[in-house]
Amino acid sequence: MTVVATMSISLDNVGTGLHQTEERPFGDVPEDALHRWMFDAPQENQPEIDAILGAGAYVMGRNMFGPVRGEWDRDWRGWWGPNPPYHAPVFVLTHYPHDPIEMEGGTTFHFVTDGIHAALDRAREAAGDLNIHIAGGPTTTNAYLAAGLVDELALQISPVVLGEGIRLLDGVGRLDLEPIAIRPTSLVTHARYRVRYPDGA
């Protein structure tokens, strides 16, 4: 079982923008800037889309799940409609307990209040032989990288420099990477790396 961090980023590593709202899931980053490849050229990028959505379990941060902050004071079921693309258990990191939300198509959102290790443990139990994906956003993925818990990094690098936003790889310390697969398509560069932590972990 491999723990893979997957994320669509700009050439300057921005994974999402500041000032997220319900209307703007990526905040100040224009919605199409980092994900246009997925919507405008799905066939060309099908192997990577299949890989991103092929995990046995997912872990994501609360801001990736939704715009609600603090207590869960309203019904929120993610950005993805009644049938999210994950079709597997999704473990959402939060400080505020919430009952699991079962969606159509096999996706269930579970809410984990005791930290990133606990969420990964639960994802491990749920994933069976399949991979676990750390789905983002960048703050969550950086926490997993800094803790030495990520085996592979699967990036989709869009041809844009954004200049500001929340950056992947910020504060993760030193890492050595080994490319596994690099594939350019017309709208994005897919770059998959094995992560080597300096202490050999």
Binding site: L11, D12, N13, I157, P159, V160, V161, L162, G163, E164, R167, L168, L169, D170, G171, V172, G173, R174, L175, D176, L177, E178, P179, I182, P184, S186, L187, T189, A191, Y193
Partner: protein
């Protein structure tokens, strides 16, 4: 055409906080490729720091250098250099002139009147060129390492819309990406 070419870490840094960039030293294969990328450049625009770092290329013994370094030194000596610095008293290298400020109009004129391409070195200077909409193409060489902090490859906080036109993967794990610049917004 004005080309910005930069080697950096996967987390987007051109140099360590102390200015060193040992992590980015190219091997023979990468150096040979970078030489080819730079071969179309007739005039190179650089800052004071680059000017000071580049001195060995003017003084080294080409006969005893390894082939990629010798080729780079030859190209360097055949390239006209414009150094931007408000503090350097003078420049002493051949084919080199000093400018006190980065004047976008003058660079646009130079670009229009040059038979060969212009290159720009260093993220700060490149940031000024991006801000003025003067950069036509970008080569980034991403080294497979995360260094955590330092000087970013893209300075100035501009949004730059690019289009991938070529890509190259090297034996040492570095990935080179060649982009056309479609627009810059501050």
């Amino acid at each position: 055409m004005l080309i910005y070419s930069a080697t950096g870490s996967l987390d987007g840094y051109f140099a360590e906080p102390d200015g060193s960039f040992d992590f980015a030293f190219p091997d023979e294969e990468l150096h040979t490729f970078v030489n080819e990328v730079h071969a179309t450049i007739g005039t190179l625009l650089i800052g004071r720091r680059s000017y000071e770092l580049m001195e060995p290329w003017d003084t080294m013994d080409i006969e005893t250098a390894d082939p990629a370094e010798a080729q780079f030194a030859r190209q360097w000596r055949e390239t006209d250099k414009v150094v931007y610095s408000s503090t350097l008293p003078e420049v002493t290298f051949p084919r080199t002139r000093l400018e006190r400020t980065f004047d976008p109009d003058a660079v646009a004129e130079l670009k229009a009147s040059s038979d060969r391409d212009l290159g720009i070195g260093g993220p700060e200077l490149a940031g000024a060129a991006f801000a003025a909409g003067l950069v036509d193409e970008v080569w980034t060489f991403l080294v497979p390492t995360v260094i955590g902090s330092g000087a970013p490859m893209f300075a100035g906080g501009h949004r730059i819309d690019l289009e991938l036109i070529d890509q190259h993967r090297f034996g040492n794990g570095t990935v080179g990406m060649h982009y056309r610049v479609n627009g810059t917004r501050s």
